[in-house]
Structures are given as C-alpha cells and as structure tokens.
Amino acid sequence: MNPFLAAVAIGIAFGWTLERAGLGSAPKLAGQFYFTDLTVFKVMFSAIVTAMLGAFWLSRLGILDLSQVYVPETYLLPQLAGGLLFGAGFVIAGLCPGTSCVAAATGRGDGAMVMLGMFSGVLATGLAFAPLCHFYESTARGPLVLPDLLHVNYGVIVFAVVGMALIAFQFAERLEKRA
C-alpha cells in the first residue's frame, strides 16, 4: 500500500473517531480539567489499553514485529518540562493539536485559532532553537520502555496498565456523577 494513501486513510479513521467521541468541542475537552466531563481521559485510556493489548498479542502471535514499530524516544527533562507547558497550553486552548484540526474541520473558529497558535508556537520555538538545543538533547534515554526501566516482564506491565485503567474508569464515573 502506498504509504501516503495509507497515511490519509489512517488519518480519516483517526479524525472520524475523535469527532464521534465529541473531541472536536473545546468546552467538552476542558471539562476534563474541572472534573465535569472525563471524556478525554476515558477515550484516551480505552484507546491506549486497546492498542497496547492488540500490539502485545499480535506480537506474541508473530503477526506484528514490535521491533519494526517506531517507539517514541525518551528525553527525561525535555519531556517533563515540555509536558507541563503543553498541559498549561491545553487547558487555555481547550483543544490539543489533533483535536484542534477536528474542531476546525467541523466549523469551529476557535479550533482554527488553536491550529494557528500551535503553528506559530512551533515556528517561533524552532527559529529561536539555538539556546534550547542543549536542553533539548539532554537526559536522552533512547527508545526506553517501561518494562526495561522497571526491570519487569512486558506482560506484567501490560496487565498492570489494564488494571490501573479499569480502576481509573470506575473512579472517573464516580467523579462525573458527583459533578
């Protein structure tokens, strides 16, 4: 399959599911951070659990070679600082980069503005990158995965993540009822 055609097809399915879940709507996403609507958490973690279990079993059955799948590399301090900044931006904007595209595509002007802001932020940071370069490359750990970090079997971590997600889902339902 042509990789660009596959990219468009995968993107269509991605955008479709985000829109179906209501994740093109900023007030709905923002509800996550005031404990009134935990859709963001529920969608994200059921997706993580599904894909994690799927990847684990497909690789066990020899259908998927996990060593051929690109694992995001770990840079401890940049990802900690970047994550904190990203989260602050997320609650101000009410949308993340992917969902801003869905918001804009469904007629929301605020979604288009988040896309423009995101683009400007990336452009400005890229242009002023020289002094950040050292920090950006610091605390590199390569494609480190949790089983290697914690010295536990891959399957144990998979099991633990599923268990934590199930408990967190129960907790999320209770929080929403209280709100």
Binding site: P3, F4, A7, I10, G11, I12, G15, W16, P27, G31, Y34, K42, V43, M44, S46, A47, I48, V49, A51, M52, G54, A55, L64, V69, E73, T74, Y75, Q79, L80, A81, G82, G83, F86, G87, A88, G89, A93, C96, P97, G98, S100, C101, V102, T106, G109, D110, M113, M115, G117, F119, S120, G121, V122, T125, G126, C133, R141, P143, V145, L146
Partner: protein
C-alpha cells in the same frame, strides 16, 4: 453480544435521517469507551500498516520547516530544529502531513454524517468571542513550545507512545495532565 453493547455502537453509525428536516437535531456523541476502543483499533492498524502510530504536532513542525525553507533555504538548513525535516522528500512529503489531511477530512465527514457541522466559536459562558480566540491562539502557541521541547503531543507521544509503553511518553502524559490541572484554576473564568 448483549443488545446494550450494540446500542452503544449506534452513536458510531452514519445517521440516515440527516437532511430530512432543517430542524433535525444533531446526533448525540458516541460512548467514550466505545469511541476509545475504536481509536485504539485505528492506532493498532497504523502500527501494522505503517509501522508507526498516530501524530499531530509533527505535521505542524514539518510545515513550519517548509515555510522557513521557502523563505530562506539557507536559514532552514542551518537551523538544528528544522534541518531534519528537509531531508529525503522534503518537508511537504512528511507522512504526518498526509495523516493530518486525513484527520481534517475524517472529522469533517463524521460531523457531516451526524448533522454536527456548524460555524461556531465555542467558549465558556463567561468568555467573550474575542477573548476566546485570543486564548485559543495563546494556548495553542504555548502547546507548540511544549510539543517542540517534548518531541510530540497528545497523539504522537501520549497516545502512540503510551500504547507502546515508552517511558518518555508516560512521563510526558503525567506532566501534561499535571500542568493542565495546575493551570486550570487560573483559567477557570474561561470555561466555567
């Protein structure tokens, strides 16, 4: 499968009553667990078909690199952040750009099918339209800085790397939720 399970799936079906009347109400959103499971299957399909997961911020980075290269090829080539995007087929043939074009199309088609396409500026009850657009731009820009530093966003780093158990992805995810919850009380007026 129980009937209740399939009822939950209805939210994912294409509405057949669309367009019958101008006052037709938009369909309700799908159950978050069902939608999340579907999203997980899309991500898994991406692992199998493309050997990589989903993403979003990379498309912004690649197009920013493309813009800089168009304005000044020398400057882009000398920039340590943009230069890697200029290799191979160039910044405009980045996989994630095609994927994001798909996201826009998929989001549009889904909203069209569900009767949810509507021009709007969505905002909290106490925020004006101008302030909302300023927050959208400002928040987007702050996310852009964070995504550059972290090398990804909610899609490519948190979702994709989370499913692959990347340590940095889980760190980013925890940090992003922490950052959002810490900042939420300060921007409460924007949403509540």
């Amino acid at each position: 499968m129980s009937e209740g399970f399939w009822k939950r799936f209805r939210g994912l079906e294409v509405s057949r009553s669309r367009g019958k009347s101008a006052t037709a109400r938009p369909q309700a959103y799908a159950d978050p667990y069902v939608a999340g499971t579907c999203l997980g299957l899309v991500l898994l399909a991406s692992f199998v078909i493309a050997g990589r997961g989903l993403g979003a911020s990379g498309a912004f980075a690649s197009s920013a690199a493309g813009l800089v290269a168009a304005a000044s090829p020398a400057r882009a080539a000398a920039n340590p952040y943009f230069a890697p995007y200029l290799g191979a087929g160039g910044p405009w043939s980045e996989w994630l750009l095609f994927e994001i074009a798909g996201v826009v199309l998929g989001g549009f088609l889904s909203a069209l099918a569900a009767g949810r396409l509507r021009a709007a500026i969505e905002r909290g009850p106490r925020l004006g339209r101008g302030s909302r657009l300023a927050c959208a731009f400002g928040g987007g820009a702050v996310m852009g800085i964070g995504a550059v530093l972290a090398r990804g966003c909610t899609s490519g780093l948190a979702l994709t790397g989370g499913a692959l158990l990347s340590a940095g992805s889980w760190l980013f995810m925890i940090a992003a939720f922490a950052g959002a919850y810490l900042f939420a009380p300060m921007v409460r007026k924007a949403w509540r």
